[in-house]
């Protein structure tokens, strides 16, 4: 008779991380949703831009007051200059220049360089803050479900309070109090955004806990930790992935909103901070407000497309 090691017998589902066939199956289903592939493509482009882009463009914070409000290549604007000596108004056409293909802002900063930097910031904040939120949510959700009793009660009441808190006001408040830096922004969004995940994981864990394969592995002497890491987490992994991909756009939007109202990290250029500048030069340089907005929009759209496709791919009931 072979010796049975604890926990080995009860594994009913292969964890996603080692099952190549399952990955292949989900990938196949995802591929049927063309929009989600387009989204994935754009996200890939953004990631590459965020990693390598800054090496290729100039310093996004470099100002040059000789080239203020330069329009993008192919566009031109009229600029009227009032001359004090001659008392005349001269109108000149300003054309876009190839060295600043997307134009410059009111301080002469290169738009392309700023947008590239913004891509890096958005992705960084989006991934890190979502990571923190999902990790916390999963941890607290599982904890709540497994410990039960007063721990569960206290955690869930705390979740209620956090969910009722006027979310954006809380963000603004904390970022203002602790000072606007990238680290604070990431931490705050991460530390306040875990509630939905916690609830979902908790209810999922509660229903899984009563399933036969968990009982079986417990009967074989598996510890709670082992049950959680070998059975529970793998079983909710698809849920976690979908949740993460669908909450990234919200996080990116939150960071952009904070930067837009002037609570962005002054040491880095994000799309929100560019929009903040652009808001004040709508009549003289429209592109400063248009370009980062388009990037923000496309990014959020891509994550929404991709997340939607993922959800359908992981949902056994959805026909793809």
């Amino acid at each position: 008779m072979t010796e049975l090691k604890p926990g080995q017998g009860g594994r009913s589902r292969i964890p996603l991380r080692i099952s190549h066939r399952l990955w292949g199956y989900y990938w196949e289903r995802l591929q049927k949703n063309r929009l989600s592939l387009v989204g994935l493509g754009f996200i890939g482009f953004l990631v590459l831009t965020g990693i390598f882009g800054p090496l290729l463009v100039q310093d996004p914070q470099k100002t040059d007051f000789n080239i203020l409000n330069l329009p993008p290549l192919g566009f031109s604007i009229q600029e009227s200059i009032y001359d004090i000596k001659t008392n005349e108004i001269t109108t000149t056409m300003i054309e876009g220049r190839p060295e600043h293909p997307l134009g410059t802002d009111s301080k002469g900063r290169d738009m392309l360089a700023m947008l590239v930097s913004g891509a890096r910031i958005s992705l960084l904040v989006g991934l890190l803050a979502t990571g923190i939120a999902i990790f916390l949510g999963t941890f607290l959700g599982v904890l709540s479900a497994f410990l039960g009793g007063w721990v569960d009660n206290a955690l869930m009441r705390f979740t209620d309070i956090m969910m009722t808190f006027p979310f954006f006001l809380l963000l603004v408040l904390i970022v203002f109090i602790f000072g606007p830096s990238l680290a604070i922004i990431v931490l705050v969004i991460g530390l306040t955004g875990w509630t939905g995940a916690a609830r979902l994981i908790r209810s999922e864990a509660l229903s899984l806990r009563t399933r036969d394969f968990i009982t079986a592995s417990k009967a074989l002497g598996a510890s709670d930790t082992r049950v959680i890491f070998n059975h529970l987490i793998p079983n909710v992994s698809s849920l976690i992935i979908v949740m993460a991909s669908l909450s990234i756009p919200g996080v990116i939007m939150a960071e952009a909103s904070l930067s837009f109202i002037g609570l962005g990290d002054p040491m880095s250029t994000s799309w929100g901070t560019i929009l903040n500048t652009g808001q004040h030069s709508l009549d003289s340089a429209w592109w400063v407000a248009v370009e980062p907005g388009i990037m923000l929009f496309l990014t959020v759209l891509s994550f929404n497309f991709f997340g939607d496709g993922l959800r359908d791919a992981f949902d056994p009931k959805a026909s793809v």
């Binding site: 705390f158 309070i161 009722t164 909103s257 709508l282 929009f297 759209l301 497309f305």
Partner: protein, 320 residues
Amino acid sequence: MRSYIIKRLLYSVIIAWGILTITFILLRVGPTSPVDRYILNIAAKGQDVESVRQAIEARYGLDKPIIEQYLLYMGNLLQGKWGWSFSASQPVMELIGSHWIYSFQLILLATIFAIILGVGLGILSAVNQNTKIDYATSIFSFIGISIPGFWLGLMLILVFAVYLGVFKTFYDTSYPIWSLENLRQLIMPVLALGTGELAGYVRYTRSAMLDNLRKEFVTTARAKGLSERTVIGKHVLRNAVLPLVTIIMFDLGSIVFGGAYLTEIVFGIPGLGQVSFNAIFANDYAVVIAVTLIGTFMVLFINLATDLIYTYLDPRIRYD
């Protein structure tokens, strides 16, 4: 039923208390105190800074231990004393009383706009499932969900105010609140705030309608010889509305201090969003706490209202 409402109200009070406490602590642990800012002005006038500081701290009880301050503050709140706004030099309640209507009006109009169009398009999309109308609506709703509301606001200003001159670039507070002129200048803010909500409602309505269109009672309704309009508009919609109510109400709670906040800032509408924004930057504690509390109460009230509306709409649910 009554005991249920009482229970819910008690729970709401507990949640509000939790939020109050968190806000209070956040404000007190922050690196700057409101007195510092006030004192900067005094110092400029050449008065003795330290004695003024002590006088102020004694006057507002800021020299006492934090627990005592907290109890004092709670005691005042229970007596209806909401405190004094440093920055606006008037009682907090007066400040809020003169500004809440702007937020209320904006949110009300945007919500009505979003519900009517969103539900309408959702029904259209569901009834014409898998047709061009359906696909076009889907794409539109994806775009609407992904477009940042504040950026949409900027773009509307750019196109309709700066270039076309249809609207003014700033919000004119001289009009009476419900006058046509005021409603006209709210068109852009309502679009900016409502589009995201609208897009969400399209998706939820569509899926709720599709869920119910497949139900057997729809066949029964048709077999009774009812017109298609009655079948869809009465039998299906009435059931689809149930999940929609939850989503719409939840959304309402989240835009109170999310989208509405940013929209007010973009368009310069002097609502509670602006007020709390200014208060946060001015370290005006009393206002921040009051606005946070009001926001919380709104959310709690909306949650309770949702439950009550639900019992009215769904005869199967009774809270006893």
